[in-house]
Symmetry: C2
């Protein structure tokens, strides 16, 4: 065991809020992540440093640092001596991903139902309401409302979990981002064939009634249905 001599600082950052990091690395990390999840950078794309340098207008160092973080997130693959690529999409992996996602989301949901307070209930009601309204807009055909719906959908699902473990939430978020990328990669064809409004309403209902069993079953079905739709699409393309 090597010991290099300590120099411990208990608290480097006191209590200030996030304050949107100003380092280029951080900025670049966020932009890249956004572009990967949204599909602007297509799955499998080779990410040549020179090219990215021009696009994002920064030096290679910050870029590589951002890419390393993304590769820890699983959004980018680093191949030894062959640079980086956007993580490819793959049906088998999606199945795997979705299994993990459901497990973790249900865990978080269960803990929330047990621990959630009044504020949490209010949050669920509010988020459900907002999503339902956005749902109506999308139904009526406004194309650009999709991004908005996506945001509110995420918010709704986020509102369900008042889970006390930040680590669990972090895992949940990580998987959520992965799934979102798959979801976005496929057109939302399934939308028409499903009654999402009703699905969301029932979930909210069960959650508020603190019916753990039912809430978990409904949420799992909800995710599974989305996954099935995506799988069909992914496979029909391959």
């Amino acid at each position: 065991m090597t010991d290099y001599g300590a120099e411990v600082t208990t608290d480097l950052v006191s209590s200030s809020e996030p304050a949107l990091e100003q380092t280029l690395t951080e900025t670049c990390y966020r932009r890249l992540k956004q572009d990967i999840i949204s599909g602007a950078r297509p799955p499998g794309e080779r990410m040549r440093i020179e090219k990215l340098k021009a696009i994002y207008g920064i030096g290679p160092t910050s870029l590589r640092e951002a890419l390393q973080r993304l590769s820890a997130d699983g959004l980018v693959r680093a191949v030894e001596r062959r640079g980086f690529q956007v993580a490819p999409l793959d049906a088998a992996e999606f199945l795997d991903l979705n299994t993990a996602r459901i497990e973790i989301d249900l865990s978080a949901l269960r803990l929330s139902i047990r621990a959630g307070d009044g504020g949490w209930e209010g949050g669920v009601v509010a988020a459900a309401y907002r999503l339902e309204k956005a749902d109506g807009l999308v139904q009526s055909g406004a194309q650009e409302s999709l991004d908005d719906w996506e945001r509110l959908n995420k918010l709704f699902h986020r509102s369900l979990v008042a889970c006390p473990s930040r680590w669990l939430l972090r895992m949940r978020e990580m998987l959520g981002e992965q799934v979102e990328r798959y979801r976005r990669a496929s057109v939302y064809r399934e939308r028409t064939e499903r009654n999402l409004i009703e699905e969301h309403r029932q979930i909210a209902e069960a959650v508020l009634a603190r019916d753990e069993e039912r809430a978990c079953r409904l949420l799992a079905e909800h995710y599974t249905r989305t996954a099935d739709g995506l799988l069909t699409l992914l496979r029909s393309r391959a």
Copy 2:
């Protein structure tokens, strides 16, 4: 939505195995991780680039890349314009961490019990056997056998999960590393007061009997007991 023009490569790395990456960044990442988990780099320590450069004998670029990855792993904290520090230990966070850990481990265990085949059963039996033997050695006082025990303990717990989701396993591993760091930070005082051999034996037994309920309960208790011990220690120090 920005689209920068695609250039998709389906498969950059064919099917070769990991083959221990030869980039400095990767090497450095592993060494640092090891040192952080083992406690050689104490929690809260400021990681000055200049200093680390000398210690690990590489340039600042590779170092920073490794540190960025570690910060995505949660083992290192990056503070804007103030560099990096080893993530501090904290009783509250440990509680949080442990909650997540138990949830995910139980999920993986449940899936394994349902899906595991004969090979998996054999693996459990073998790992249990080896751990039990190592346990005996530690009891008889050999100090350097602790590292060995730690390794076999990890292997035993790893053998339990033949879970089909690699993503879930990844989350499990990530949390496992975090917990290990906490565990190592405290001396193994509790060992004497517990009958770990018996705990492990019972877990293996329940798992092999495919008794989901019982296996989960035992494993949760196992982890909770470890956690309680650590918490007592952490708090008595603060």
